[in-house]
Symmetry: C2
Subunit: 154 residues, 2 copies
Amino acid sequence: MPQVDEHLIDDDIDTSAWDGVPIRLRAAGLRWTPQRRTLVDVLREHQGHVTATELISRCRERDQTTTPSTVYRTLDVLEEFGLVAHGHGHDGREEYHVLPGETHGHLYCEACGRQWEIRPETGAAIVDALAADLGFEVDLSHVTISGHCQGCHD
Amino acid sequence: MPQVDEHLIDDDIDTSAWDGVPIRLRAAGLRWTPQRRTLVDVLREHQGHVTATELISRCRERDQTTTPSTVYRTLDVLEEFGLVAHGHGHDGREEYHVLPGETHGHLYCEACGRQWEIRPETGAAIVDALAADLGFEVDLSHVTISGHCQGCHD
DNA sequence: CGGTCGAACGCAACACGTTGCAATAGCAAT
DNA sequence: ATTGCTATTGCAACGTGTTGCGTTCGACCG
């Protein structure tokens, strides 16, 4: 097993973005509570996409008393700080992007259920098309576009 | 008010597509029930988009005993026959296109809440971009893309 | 016209997400 | 350490949509 030093290994996620959260909250007149700490601890371990439901159950693993409404409200706050971004999966349920870097759209194959990310260049083409049409400024990351992937159409 | 004969006026909707529904259902081994008749009668009066909730309440105006699960299940059947198509609004709730003609995507402005349809040519550009990228065959009508309209972005 | 089969119904329970409100508890100031 | 303000919590209730199950009734057949 060579070269293990050359790349980050799976569970070696950069969590530094979360370190300043308590301070940022207080600076905005908000509060750092045990419930928020639990959620942030859970988010530290995640990259990419998570459903709200999964976050709630992971929080409950750490704290039996976790309440859904608190989690949803905390996620709203974290979204205002740009630490998560929510979107809707193909079935309309909420999904969260943790530490959204470059925003990207999502594709969902109705046949096989797999998901893909839209490449930045392709996403840009979509954004440009809608900007040219109606002057619309699209937030691609908010939705999942449905269809059939190459392997599944016909 | 000249030329009123030259176009269909607003409440003169072509409902002929619904006339064959009982026969089509029976031909497929399915049944024509009073509950389905109520929903189809409601759908006859609609064009464009309706939320599932609105359909349920309109059915209840005609039949107090209408049950949500029956309406949802009937909508699924009608969708298989191509008479309605469901999508998700910006907040993930279900919307139905009645008698979907040319499929079109939707835009939702997060600031002012208004909605637009994506013009066919623009929609085609989006479909083409994703086909070129991953060979993905997109069903644009299923989702509502969020963003900010011309009047609302700065 | 009555019998049979199973599609469709209504209900009850669940899942996900939101909201209003009274009680709690951060946190800044004293 | 105590106090006061108010952000946050937890609960309960609601809205929307789905699912399982026992019962009903549509439709075809004799």
